[in-house]
């Protein structure tokens, strides 16, 4: 039978590749398994994979290609927030669902009824960090080190929601994406004597720098750096870092074991949140396609996806305002112990 074409725009090169490559692995596995089970409606799935090189203008070009030349039914990705905004501008009018690996939660997303989010909004990420900082670590004074891209967005939200928590933000320092050194920033945060420090961004460098200048306060981090690669690049700085994420494959939740096993069987290593979210993204599209069939009217697939979906990463509800439906209690917290992620008993949002 004629294959169903699904597009993907991932940042497999450039600064976003830390997330883009795991996403690619999760996605390819999901496609493979669906095809092994006979595809959707008896038709195999053909994945058209594109790399946007972490640049939004390239992402738009690729989206144009996928939608108008390749005639895909849905787009998995992009990896980065800015690319999501850019691609949404092309895909939404064409009523092609976009399963973005970013969480926006900005009001304008209300108008884009076909752009779904596989990861929590930054508002939620900010709250998850503050929850664990205040409730699990008991921090009264929080320092923040963040990068100029993803970290910057989260930081904006931390500022907004921090009044809800009994914590004072005592130092905020920034490093630019790709920086080779953030020692001075770390020193400036250290000088403010915080009880805990949130390090938000896609780089192992600041973690190392913080430990190198003997910053002993607990470090917290978000999704972006919760991967084995980053942990390896952190070197001996990697212990006792707390992550707010969704999947600890060493100790998965019952709803996650099937995915973890399949992944380990395929690749021989453990997956993290990014792999799981890509797996979910494809499966959500596949579920929608199974409902409306591959020949449906434009927009029907979006409608079909717009509902609850039980994924390996977490439970989604794409009919929510933020087009993701993730909640604080969906988070899983982990701590690094000798390079291994250990799931913490702490639950947020309770």
């Amino acid at each position: 039978a004629e294959p169903i074409r699904i597009g993907a725009i991932l940042s497999t090169t450039g600064p976003g590749a830390g997330a883009g490559i795991p996403q690619r692995n999760g996605l390819q596995l999901a496609v493979k398994l669906v095809n092994e089970k006979g595809g959707i409606d008896g038709r195999p799935v053909q994945l058209v994979m594109e790399d946007d090189g972490s640049s939004p203008d390239v992402a738009v070009t690729k989206a144009n290609n996928l939608i108008f030349s390749q005639k895909v039914q849905a787009i998995i990705g992009p990896t980065l927030t800015a690319s999501t905004l850019a691609v949404g501008g092309v895909a939404d009018p064409a009523k092609i669902p976009v399963m973005a690996f970013t969480g926006l939660g900005v009001p304008m997303e209300k108008t884009r009824r076909c752009v779904f989010h596989m990861l929590p909004s930054q508002d939620l990420n900010a709250r998850a960090l503050l929850e664990v900082a205040t409730k699990a670590l008991g921090a009264k004074k929080l320092g923040v080190l963040h990068d100029s891209a993803y970290g910057n967005i989260v930081m904006t939200k931390i500022r907004e929601v921090s009044p809800d928590y009994p914590v004072e933000i005592v130092a905020v320092e920034k490093w630019e994406v790709g920086a080779t050194d953030a020692t001075t920033q770390a020193a400036k945060v250290k000088a403010a004597a915080p009880d805990a420090i949130a390090v938000i961004g896609n780089s192992a460098t600041p973690f190392r720098n913080a430990r190198q200048i003997r910053l002993t306060a607990p470090l917290l981090s978000a999704l972006g750096t919760a991967t084995y690669e980053y942990v390896k690049a952190m070197g001996d700085a990697a212990d006792n870092i707390v992550f707010a994420e969704f999947l600890v494959a060493e100790d998965p939740l019952p709803s996650q074991t099937a995915f973890v096993d399949a992944f380990r069987k395929e690749y021989g290593v453990l997956p993290k949140t990014m792999e799981a979210s890509a797996w979910d993204a494809f499966n959500a599209v596949a579920a929608g396609l199974a409902k409306v069939g591959p020949e449906a009217q434009p927009g029907a697939l979006c409608e079909a996806i717009r509902g609850p979906f039980d994924g390996a990463m977490a439970r989604f509800d794409f009919s929510q305002e933020d087009m993701t439906g993730l909640m604080l209690k969906s988070y899983v917290f982990s701590k690094l112990d000798k390079g291994k992620f250990v799931r913490l008993p702490f639950k947020a949002g309770s």
Binding site: T13, T61, S69, L80, A82, A86, S148
Partner: protein
């Protein structure tokens, strides 16, 4: 009396002026037919190509506009500009802010971007254009990075990392340029007009002065050429083109953010004329096509495509010394020589 004294003829009764061989000399029939063919090809391309290909060509056009500015600085002024993305960004943000946030008509945003860019170029150019060679290149590089930094920080205008979404499509007199095809027919004529204007300038007194300034600045000064002012002018011209390209980019993609205005873009804009050949303005067109299309063609080959793109750059410089434009001209010359066409009045034996 020495026999040679006869050559000291007073002015006025000199021998006949050799046939014109100015840079603006009338094109030959061969050139004209090539041009006509090119124009035809240009017009029908969108009809035969897929939308995606047209989309790529629109980006090529944008690169050509911004790259032409950098190329003119390099080829005519000997100035390596590693900061064009700064002006590209000014154009992009001016358009995005004016039309998406303030709901002003698109031409207003474009004009503001260009004027602002040229004003900034005038202001900053005065001190930094006193530098020369690689020192100037470093200053432009620094300028580019400073601007990127500011784009990150000034998020009340630029939206920071998130950028400005929802930039409306460009509409002129009710006609909306909302498809790649329509944009293609808008962007490329602009690029051609710019190249033509540059070509004109090269054939003028100012163009000669530019070349003179580049080859021997001291001697140019003695000929009363105001090197500083010339440099400032072409720097402003280049900046204005960067802004124009950025504005067109913003309206085309409908979204701008800092990622589009980084140092890598500046390097790309420099590569455009260098690959195409910086000695002729039209080199920017060829360079833009190369930069815009080759990575896309190679990306079909999988992960190795970036290595291949690097090698393609290397090959282009090793095998085509004057840029791809030089290759084209070489071929034309060759066919001409073959067909025994009349020589061009050059005195080279």
């Amino acid at each position: 009396m020495l026999p040679n004294k006869t050559s000291l003829a007073p002015p006025g009764i000199a021998g006949e002026l050799p046939a014109q061989r100015l840079r603006t000399a009338r094109p030959s029939a061969a050139t004209l037919s090539v041009l006509a063919f090119g124009a035809g090809l240009y017009l029908i391309l969108p009809l035969v190509l897929e939308r995606h290909a047209v989309d790529l060509l629109v980006f090529c056009g944008l690169y050509a506009i911004a790259g032409a500015g950098v190329g003119f600085l390099l080829g005519q002024g000997g100035i390596v500009n590693l900061g064009q993305a700064a002006f590209y960004g000014i154009g992009g943000y001016a358009s995005a802010y004016c039309s998406a946030r303030l709901n002003w008509p698109a031409p207003a945003g474009i004009a503001i971007g260009i004027v602002l860019s040229m004003a900034i170029a005038a202001l900053i150019g005065r001190p930094i254009l006193r530098l020369s060679g690689y020192f100037l290149a470093l200053a432009t590089l620094a300028l580019g990075i400073i601007c990127t930094n500011i784009y990150f920080e000034a998020d009340f205008i630029t939206g920071g990392t998130l950028g400005v979404p929802g930039v409306p499509k460009l509409a002129i007199g009710g006609f909306v340029f909302d498809t790649p095809e329509r944009y293609y027919y808008l962007v490329w004529p602009i690029a051609f007009a710019i190249i033509l204007a540059m070509h004109n300038l090269m054939g003028s007194r100012i163009g000669l002065a530019l070349q003179a300034m580049r080859d021997a600045p001291d001697a140019a000064m003695v000929m009363a050429i105001d090197n500083a002012r010339l440099k400032l002018w072409i720097f402003m011209l280049s900046s204005g083109l960067g802004a124009l390209s950025g504005s067109l980019f913003a309206h085309y993609v409908g979204f701008v953010n800092v990622d589009s205005f980084g140092v890598d873009k500046s390097i790309l804009f420099l590569l455009v004329p260098v690959i195409g050949g910086a000695s002729v303005p039209a080199g920017a067109i060829i360079g833009a096509l190369f930069i815009g299309l080759v990575p896309e063609l190679l990306s079909a080959l999988g992960d190795i495509h970036r290595v291949l793109f690097g090698l393609a750059l290397v090959a282009s410089v090793v095998f085509f010394p004057d840029g791809l434009w030089g290759l084209g001209r070489g071929l034309i010359e060759l066919t001409r020589r073959r067909s025994g066409a009349a020589d061009r009045g050059e005195t080279m034996p």
